[in-house]
């Protein structure tokens, strides 16, 4: 069980002691008499987002399906088993927990303390001189296994756990999955949290009282429209490089779908790097002047989508543009820095997976110094949204 909790934590699924106690209560009440129900119950208790389903299934399989010493009939022992008893004994021996306290605390309180201790360790210190260690292979050591191993197949729920886990049905919702048409919904909901919304109508009590008094008691109701904070968004898309090709349509669909959430969404295009001009059309024939773009900076969120992968000269050198006829002396990174300064609320999304950044091109790192960069996965988009919101709060307050 400790393995299981650590596994979840390592997989990035937030676990709280609260969940563990709830899990314990459920097991005590006999919610999960077999492995399939245990699987469903554990998922209900521990996993709150579909993005984590896949990771959860992998951990569950690893811990419960791989270990024949796990006995579905005796789940309670998992939570109050040997490590817990050991911990309890040591607590009492060391005087951290006086004996009389033992009588006062009920099981749940003790368990809560135990699991807090377990979780305070970050899961890497197995077997050290910590309070709780998983020690050997079989920490729970109960021998009363009902012959024939665990019930997964047949008599229970048609092997739901086994079937479900084998299929990895939720992998396209995992946080590390790149943007695809299947998981558009997740992305959309993340992006929608970019704007705060409030109820639209409110009774203006003060004015109502004032007007009613003026009318000599004749009631007059005055409603006011609550201000809606609707942000503007500019999306700059690199539609040049081939690494962008699979994403261009998706990105456009995503942002078109959330168009009604913003006061305005505008798309501009560039090729590889920005040198003072972006374009209003995908063919890059209608230039938009730099001044005009920068002027809207303070009240507009900026998302740049591009692979940031170019020849170093394109970023660093004067006359660096990929367009050989360029007459622009200022190197790309200066332009980018100007852009960043003009848009205090901005983020860069990169379709190249984060792990590959250091190997792909040195320019990714350089641009990453200028703009906060995330990759174009569900997790990355979430981080980007959170980042924009935090930045936006600061800017809006200052304004």
């Amino acid at each position: 069980m400790i393995d299981f909790i650590y596994g979840l934590m390592r997989a990035g699924i937030p676990v709280s002691v609260h969940y563990i106690l709830e899990f314990y209560r459920g097991l005590r009440a006999g919610i999960a008499p077999d492995l399939d129900r245990l699987f469903l119950f554990a998922r209900l208790v521990f996993v709150k987002k579909v993005e984590h389903y896949d990771a959860f299934e992998q951990v569950f399989r690893h811990v419960f399906l791989g270990d024949p010493s796990v006995d579905p009939e005796d789940w309670e022992a998992l939570l109050t088993g040997k490590p817990f008893q050991e911990w309890l004994r040591r607590q009492v021996e060391s005087g951290r927990l006086p004996l009389e306290a033992l009588r006062e605390f009920d099981n749940e309180e003790l368990l809560e303390r135990f699991w807090r201790t377990v979780m305070a360790q970050d899961g890497e210190h197995h077997g050290g001189n910590t309070w709780v260690g998983t020690g050997g292979r079989s920490p729970f050591g109960h021998s009363g296994r009902h012959g024939g191993g665990i019930r997964v197949y047949g008599e229970s729920l048609h092997g739901t756990a086994q079937k479900v886990i084998g299929a990895r049905r939720y992998i396209q919702y995992s946080d590390e999955t790149p943007l695809r048409s299947e998981n558009l919904r997740q992305v959309l909901s993340t992006l929608k949290s970019l704007r705060p919304v409030g109820p639209e109508n409110e009774l203006d009590v003060d004015t109502t009282i004032y007007r009613t008094a003026k009318n000599g008691g004749e009631i007059e109701l005055v409603f006011q429209r609550e201000l809606r904070n609707r942000v503007e968004l500019i999306v700059l898309v690199d539609n040049g490089g081939y690494s962008m090709v699979p994403y261009v349509d998706l990105v456009k669909t995503v942002f078109n779908k959330i168009r009604d959430c913003f006061r305005d969404v505008r798309f501009y295009y560039f090729h590889n790097c920005i040198y003072g001009t972006v374009y209003a059309d995908p063919q890059r024939r209608q230039p938009v002047s730099w001044e005009k773009l920068l002027a809207s900076g303070k009240k507009t969120r900026l998302i740049i989508i591009g692979d940031a992968n170019m020849a170093p000269a394109e970023l660093m050198a004067s006359y660096g543009s990929i367009d050989p006829a360029t007459a622009i002396r200022k190197p790309g990174f200066v332009w980018l820095r100007e852009l960043r300064e003009a848009f205090p609320v901005s983020v860069w999304l990169n379709p190249i997976p984060r792990d590959h950044w250091p190997w792909n091109s040195p320019t990714i790192g350089r641009i990453g110094d200028i703009f906060h960069m995330e990759d174009l996965t569900l997790g990355g988009i979430k981080n980007a949204t959170a980042y924009l919101n935090i930045q936006g709060q600061g800017v809006d307050q200052a304004a």
Partner: protein
């Protein structure tokens, strides 16, 4: 160890009108047994809302239904104090309506949560499309539901739940729900049904449909879903489509680009054009 699932009188087994897979059935039962709100997410047309109605029907409980709007603050789901009506009555008299201006209770109306709490029997409480409300509202609501009590502020009167309702919450994931909210619910994502399940679902609606026809339709249906349309067809579209084909006396669903009544499956112009192979000049 006593087995609650088997012995509990509240056990949901599905109904004849609603196809329920074993996984979802267990999840509903676990949530009922643990007394936790069950938050259902998933694509449109996976039967999230319908599930609440079927639970009520199967367990023979009454429903309280709250369809959320973005303007909700949460309190109106518990009660509404009709100030305007009372002001009006105090000014013009309540006439023969039987309301007493001096009695505030005549001006308090309970919302779905209030009704579920004050009634004598256990009810199923559905909070539909919770994601339309803002996150403060969601947190307020969960406070109320977790405590099983709310306060009528105007008279500082606490209403306690006589019976904890069975709470089903649905979300279309229009916006992310807050973490504290998720923490307090059991969350379940209903995946889109696969072909075998879809056969059963269609049969519930069209029991006499010929086998070959059904399979040919499903094949086309899942093929279209794979093609990455902006709004992929879901269960509701499939049922409409089959209904339209049967009403129109079409013998088969057609193949390739020649699908009958395509308009019932694909709703967006863009998608239909894409399907017909006419790509609008909408390039990047």
């Amino acid at each position: 160890m006593q087995n609650v699932c088997e012995s509990s009188p509240m056990r949901f087994e599905g109904t004849d009108r609603y196809y329920l897979n074993s996984e979802l059935r267990e999840i509903v039962n676990i949530a009922i047994a643990m007394g936790k709100p069950l938050l259902l997410t998933g694509e449109a047309g996976t039967g999230k809302t319908q599930l609440a109605f079927e639970i009520a029907r199967a367990l023979n409980l009454r429903m309280e239904e709250a369809r959320c709007k973005s303007t909700f603050k949460g309190e109106e789901l518990c009660y509404v104090y009709d100030t305007v009506l009372r002001l009006n009555d105090s000014r013009f008299g309540s006439g023969d309506t039987g309301r007493d201006v001096n009695n505030i209770w005549d001006y308090i109306r309970f919302g779905p949560i209030g009704r579920a709490f004050t009634c004598e029997d256990r009810r199923v409480l559905l909070l539909d499309e919770i994601d339309k409300t803002d996150s403060d509202t969601q947190d307020n609501l969960l406070d109320v539901l977790e405590d099983g009590a709310f306060i009528i502020r105007e008279i500082n009167h606490k209403i306690r739940a006589k019976q904890r309702p069975i709470i089903i919450i649905t979300s279309n994931a229009k916006r992310e729900l807050s973490d504290p909210f998720l923490r307090r619910c059991f969350c379940h994502y209903i995946p889109f049904p696969g072909p075998e399940e879809m056969v059963k679902i269609v049969r519930l609606h069209y029991p006499d449909i010929p086998e070959a026809f059904l399979h040919a339709s499903l094949e086309t249906f899942y093929r279209l879903r794979e093609e990455g349309f902006e709004k992929p067809p879901a269960t509701a579209e499939l049922l409409d489509w089959i209904g339209a084909m049967r009403a129109g006396g079409v013998r088969g669903p057609g193949a390739g680009k020649d699908v009958a009544h395509i308009g019932t499956l694909l709703k967006r112009t863009q998608d239909i054009l894409k399907f017909k192979g006419i790509r609008k000049a909408l390039r990047f």
